[in-house]
């Protein structure tokens, strides 16, 4: 195993752990805020105690989310040194803006929310609770702008003097911020957090119902949790649809891998599980047109003509042109001070081929194929579990709304079982998004093998196991603390 492997696995592990803590905070933030608003509007102490119970759970997750988040941010530098120079000009800005606009908001108002009950006015406290959630959401926006740019690098131009991708114009930043991939990623990720929050609140409340404790607290929480979760579910579905269209447009290989599609075509079928297909469905999903052409893995390798009539070259041709670009870059840099004419000629060659420069770093055409099995099954897991979550929230929400939850033990048990499933669903989603774009850190521009730092495999292997041990310890303690808080229950009257 080389340093590329360990750097990737370390980043993946950190991101996966981070995404265990973050989605719940994104969803719970709004559940708590709605509850506290009810407290302020209805002046009913019950809602205050209810909100405070969920805040305790929020706080534990928030702390570990922060701890894993800082590692992620700095790993861009520590483990992806070339990456942070090559695209720092594009990628750094959203990250810095995230810090300035979102993190301070979260940090400041979280402290008010958690400690301020007896210190600040009721109104300022309520505003702080909302701002904590809004801060978390803004933070998600900027980091997903950064991630979206890696999937669809818009508004950038390669500068051979600095050897990096730079902001093309002052207006290009607007393209980065409104990158369609980033926008749908934002809605998809944040609202999936609402689903997580909803399923979590419903599941925990059902545990109280099973225990015949805190019936009022549980029923009211179920109602709010399922509403937040259902709104989230619908938004996840809609943004998931546009994510599919974007994948088809900007990352066709990811889509082909997710579908296990060897050979594409028009009226392409959607595979539910191997052997069960819906004819034409994939074309509809990917292009919103039953006659749309969806390229398969082999089409991408061999080259094809896309739906707009553009000819997409084969991977080997892209690789050849990429190598031409890299050679021209080397010539340009060697000659630019001594032989301006040769340098200008090399620069012209570079500019003609620069869009494929990333391919010049690949060894063989097959390198562009991500691990198909992983992506294929993660995709199915995500969609299947996502639909199950929606169904669960719909049924329980409806029964809670009609006050017909009664004593349906099987349903309560099911709701509790959904809690781990919603986490698996979220992890599967990120596996599709991130494993599906291999080998690229920046789609088409920079493959993982040249994005790394100059470190030994042993060094990164050591930190991988170190971080793994630390995060696992944190996770175990976190779960134990949450279970403890749940067992203790809210301070609402036990009715």
């Amino acid at each position: 195993m080389d340093v590329i492997f360990w750097s990737r696995i370390q980043f993946a592990m950190t991101a996966a752990y981070h995404w265990l803590f973050v989605p719940l905070t994104l969803g719970l933030a709004f559940v708590m805020a709605v509850m506290e608003t009810l407290y302020v509007v209805k002046k009913d102490e019950f809602w205050k105690k209810t909100a405070q119970f969920w805040m305790k759970i929020f706080a534990v997750n928030f702390a570990v989310g922060i701890a894993t988040g800082i590692i992620l941010e700095f790993e861009f530098g520590t483990n992806w040194s070339n990456y942070s120079w090559f695209v720092g000009d594009m990628f750094g800005a959203p990250l810095a803006i995230e810090g300035i606009l979102a993190f301070f908001m979260e940090a400041t108002f979280f402290a008010v929310m958690f400690f301020g009950w007896e210190k600040v006015s009721q109104r300022f406290h309520l505003v702080s609770t909302w701002l904590t959630g809004i801060g978390a959401t803004i933070s998600a926006y900027w980091i997903l702008v950064a991630n979206g740019w890696m999937q669809n690098p818009v508004g950038t131009v390669f500068n051979p003097d600095t050897v990096r991708s730079e902001m093309a114009t002052a207006q290009a930043f607007w393209e980065v911020v409104t990158n369609p991939v980033a926008v749908s990623k934002f809605f998809h990720s944040v609202t999936s957090g609402w689903v997580t929050g909803g399923v979590f609140v419903v599941g925990v409340s059902c545990w109280f119902l099973l225990q015949k404790r805190q019936q009022k607290f549980a029923r009211k929480s179920i109602l709010i949790g399922s509403i937040v979760g259902l709104v989230g579910s619908v938004a996840v579905m809609l943004s998931g649809d546009s994510s599919g269209v974007h994948a088809a447009e900007f990352q066709p290989m990811k889509l082909a891998a997710a579908e296990g599609l060897e050979d594409g075509g028009r009226r392409a079928a959607f595979t539910i599980v191997p052997g069960v297909k819906i004819p034409g469905m994939l074309s509809i999903l990917a292009t919103h047109d039953i006659d749309g052409f969806v390229p398969g893995i082999n089409d991408i390798l061999k080259g094809y003509t896309d739906n707009e009539g553009n000819v997409v070259p084969s991977v080997s041709e892209k690789m050849q042109r990429g190598r031409t670009a890299l050679d021209a870059l080397a010539t340009y840099r060697a000659k630019k001070d001594t032989d301006p004419e040769a340098a200008a000629a090399a620069r012209a060659v570079l500019e003609k081929n620069v869009q494929y420069m990333g391919y010049g770093h690949l060894e063989k055409p097959e390198d562009v194929i991500p691990p198909v099995g992983v992506v294929f099954w993660a995709f199915r897991l995500m969609i299947g579990l996502g639909m199950l979550m929606m169904l669960e929230l719909l049924v329980i929400g409806f029964l809670a709304w009609k006050d017909r939850l009664g004593d349906k033990k099987w349903l309560f048990v099911l709701a509790i079982a959904c809690i781990p499933l919603v986490y698996i669903c979220g992890q599967a989603g990120w596996i599709v998004a991130e494993v599906g774009r291999q080998p690229w850190t920046i789609q088409g521009l920079l493959p993982v093998n040249v994005a790394i730092s100059s470190l030994s495999a042993g060094a990164v292997k050591t930190t991988f196991f170190l971080f793994l041990a630390i995060f696992t310890l944190f996770l175990i303690i976190e779960i134990r603390i949450m279970l403890g808080a749940i067992k203790k229950g809210p301070q609402t009257p036990n009715e």
Partner: protein, 379 residues
């Protein structure tokens, strides 16, 4: 806006964030006092809850400092973080443990009890200022690295910034001059922490203990700081000419101070303010010394960053290949990126304003033993 202006502006903001970070590391410094044997468990818990309401600000400032450095001077990010790997990993791990220690330590389910988490907070209190200070110290001593932009076209070794020491950052701990700054910072944050607690907590024993700690810490602080300063002003520095060629200049950092009188004044006023906050608190009955010393710290740190980066100076010099040294000209982002972020940075006063408002609201009343005893909402 010219490219040069934008680069200078962003170095100014990095310096400001650096200054604020060091000031806010009073959280780390205050946590060191959790080891004070004259304090009872309740008193330690008061300290914990006092810093517990501020640690996220320090943490966020660190994260934003990193993010802003990444966005404005990405070559530093890729060179230092990817090269001085072990130093940054150690710093990060100490902060990661700090982040969870508040939330975890007084919970029965935490597996390892209260004490280890307090120890984690104290390790963070020692390591964070020591290592961050030493890392900043290398701005003047240099680090072993090479930057070769052509490398990206080299399939066998495509990494642009390579570190030339197998210790990957730990070798900085062998740089006497840099370590002096680390030690100075460690004692300074311990003092700032004590000053903060004196202002934030209503408890005679704690206040007395903190005044005593200040008196103990101020001597080594001055020793390390003045030692570092003396060597700094005497050592040759890494200068860079208009063409971007880096060369050694005798007395460079002294020259920087003399050639930039504003920086000299900033530095001197900063140092005086730090002392003006410390002395009446350590030897008198002052309660609000944290503000004077805090502002003084921000000013002094900014002046140190200005000496490192302005006036034709390479702020991250290379000892193995002089021309690889990073300057604010050769390591910055493109003009367009710096310009976009310039506009965003105009929101900073608004951010500072709401932080100040929330801080005032939360700290109107000092923390009392009674509050910690009775309230449900505490660490």
């Amino acid at each position: 806006m010219s490219y040069t202006f934008l680069q200078n502006y962003w170095w100014f903001l990095i310096s400001l964030l650096g200054g604020l970070l060091v000031f806010l590391m009073f959280v780390q410094g205050a946590n060191l006092h959790l080891g004070n044997r004259s304090l009872s468990d309740l008193q330690k818990r008061m300290i914990l809850n006092s810093t517990g309401r501020k640690w996220e600000l320090t943490f966020t400032t660190l994260v934003t400092f990193g993010g802003a450095f990444f966005a404005s001077f990405p070559l530093f990010y890729s060179t230092s973080f990817g090269g001085a790997y072990w130093v940054w990993v150690l710093i990060l791990i100490s902060f990661v443990f700090q982040a969870v220690s508040y939330e975890f330590q007084n919970k029965n389910e935490n597996l390892i009890g209260i004490q280890p988490f307090r120890v984690f907070l104290m390790i963070n209190g020692l390591l964070a200022p020591l290592l961050i200070g030493t890392a900043v110290g290398t701005f003047f001593t240099g680090s072993p690295f090479t930057v070769n932009r052509a490398a990206i076209a080299d399939a066998a070794a495509p990494v642009i910034s390579t570190w030339d020491s197998p210790w990957h950052g730990l070798e900085a701990l062998g740089q006497f001059h840099a370590v002096l700054l680390g030690c100075a910072l460690m004692f300074l944050t311990a003092i700032l922490g004590a000053l903060y607690l004196i202002n934030n907590i209503e408890d005679e024993t704690i206040i007395r203990a903190m005044r005593r700690s200040i008196r103990v810490a101020v001597i080594p602080f001055l020793f390390f700081f003045l030692g570092w300063l003396t060597i700094l002003l005497m050592r040759p520095g890494f200068a860079v000419d208009a063409e971007g060629t880096v060369y050694m200049e005798a007395g460079k950092y002294l020259n920087n101070l003399l050639q930039m009188p504003v920086v000299l004044i900033l530095f001197l006023v900063g140092v005086v303010l730090v002392l003006a906050g410390i002395l009446p608190s350590g030897y008198g009955q002052a309660r609000k010394g944290i503000w004077l010393s805090g502002i003084g710290t921000v000013m002094t740190v900014m002046a140190v960053f200005f000496i490192a980066g302005y006036n034709g100076t390479a702020y991250y010099p290379s000892t193995t290949d002089l021309q690889s040294s990073l300057t604010i000209r050769n390591s910055s982002s493109s003009p367009f990126t710096l310009q976009v972020m310039f506009w965003v940075s105009l929101l900073i006063p608004f951010v500072v304003a709401y932080i100040a408002y929330a801080w005032r609201q939360m700290d109107k009343k000092r923390i009392t033993p009674d509050e910690i005893d009775k309230t449900e909402h505490k660490y």
